[in-house]
Symmetry: C2
Subunit: 142 residues, 2 copies
C-alpha cells in the first residue's frame, strides 16, 4: 500500500493505483469528503458516476456529489431538495416584492403626470391672469 | 412471489414482504421511480435512508431522493446542484432588478418632492401676483 493513497482507497483499505478514479477528487487530507459520498451513494456508485463523464468534468461531478451528500446528511428528509424549495420561496418573495415596487412606481409616475398636467393648467390660468392683469392694469383713461 | 410486489422487489426479483420498506413509496405501476434511485444510490442505500427517519417522513425522503436521482440522470455533471446554481443566479438577477427599481422610485419620489416645493413656490408667487394685482388694480386715483 502506497502512503499516497487517496481518501477512498484509505477508507476502503485497498491499494491505490496511479490511475485510481478517486485519487484526483478525494485527497487523503480530506477524509470527510469521501466519507460523506460513500455513506450516501456508496463508493461503487460514485466511481460509476465519475467514469461516465469526461475527465475534465469529473471535478464538478465530485463537487456536486459531495454537496448533495453533505445536504442529505445534514437534512436526512429533504437533502438539497429542501434548499431548492427555500430558493423557490425566496424567488416568489422577490417577484412579489418587485411587482409591488413596480406597481408603486407606476402609481408615482401616474401621479407625477397628473400633477404635471395640473401644474400646466395652473400656468395657463396664471397666464390668463397675467393677460387679464395687463388689460386691467392698462389705465382705462389712456 | 406475490403479484402485489413493489417496484423495488419486482426489479430486484425478490419476494416483497408486507412490511417491505420500499412498498409504500415505490409502487409497481411506476417502475422508473425505483429504477432511477437504484441507479444513483443503490437499493441498499435507499433502504437505509428510508429506515433512518420516522415513518411519516419517509414519503418525503423517497420523493426527494427520486428528484435528486432524476436530476443526476438528466444532468450527469451537476445533478440538482445545477438547479441550485440557476436559482441563485435568478435570485441575484431579481435582487439587482429590485435594487434598480427601488433606486428609480426614490428618484421619482425625490423629483416629485422637488416639483412639489417648486409648485408651492409658484403658488406663493401667484399669491403675491394676486396681492400685487389687488394693489395695482386699486385705482390710483381713489
Amino acid at each position: 500500500m502506497s502512503s499516497k493513497r487517496c481518501a477512498a482507497c484509505k477508507q476502503l483499505r485497498r491499494r491505490c493505483p496511479s490511475d485510481c478514479i478517486f485519487l484526483p477528487y478525494f485527497p487523503p487530507n480530506n477524509p470527510q469528503r469521501f466519507s460523506f459520498v460513500h455513506r450516501i451513494y456508496g463508493a461503487s456508485n460514485v466511481g460509476k458516476l465519475l467514469q461516465q463523464v469526461q475527465e475534465h468534468q469529473r471535478a464538478d461531478v465530485a463537487d456536486s456529489l459531495y454537496y448533495e451528500a453533505y445536504c442529505r446528511i445534514k437534512s436526512p428528509i429533504y437533502g438539497c431538495v429542501g434548499i431548492i424549495s427555500i430558493l423557490h420561496q425566496e424567488i416568489d418573495r422577490l417577484e412579489r416584492e418587485l411587482a409591488k415596487v413596480q406597481a408603486e412606481i407606476s402609481l408615482v409616475k401616474g401621479q407625477t403626470q397628473i400633477e404635471g398636467h395640473l401644474a400646466q393648467g395652473q400656468q395657463v390660468e396664471l397666464s390668463s391672469s397675467s393677460f387679464d392683469l395687463s388689460i386691467i392694469t392698462t389705465p382705462w383713461f389712456y
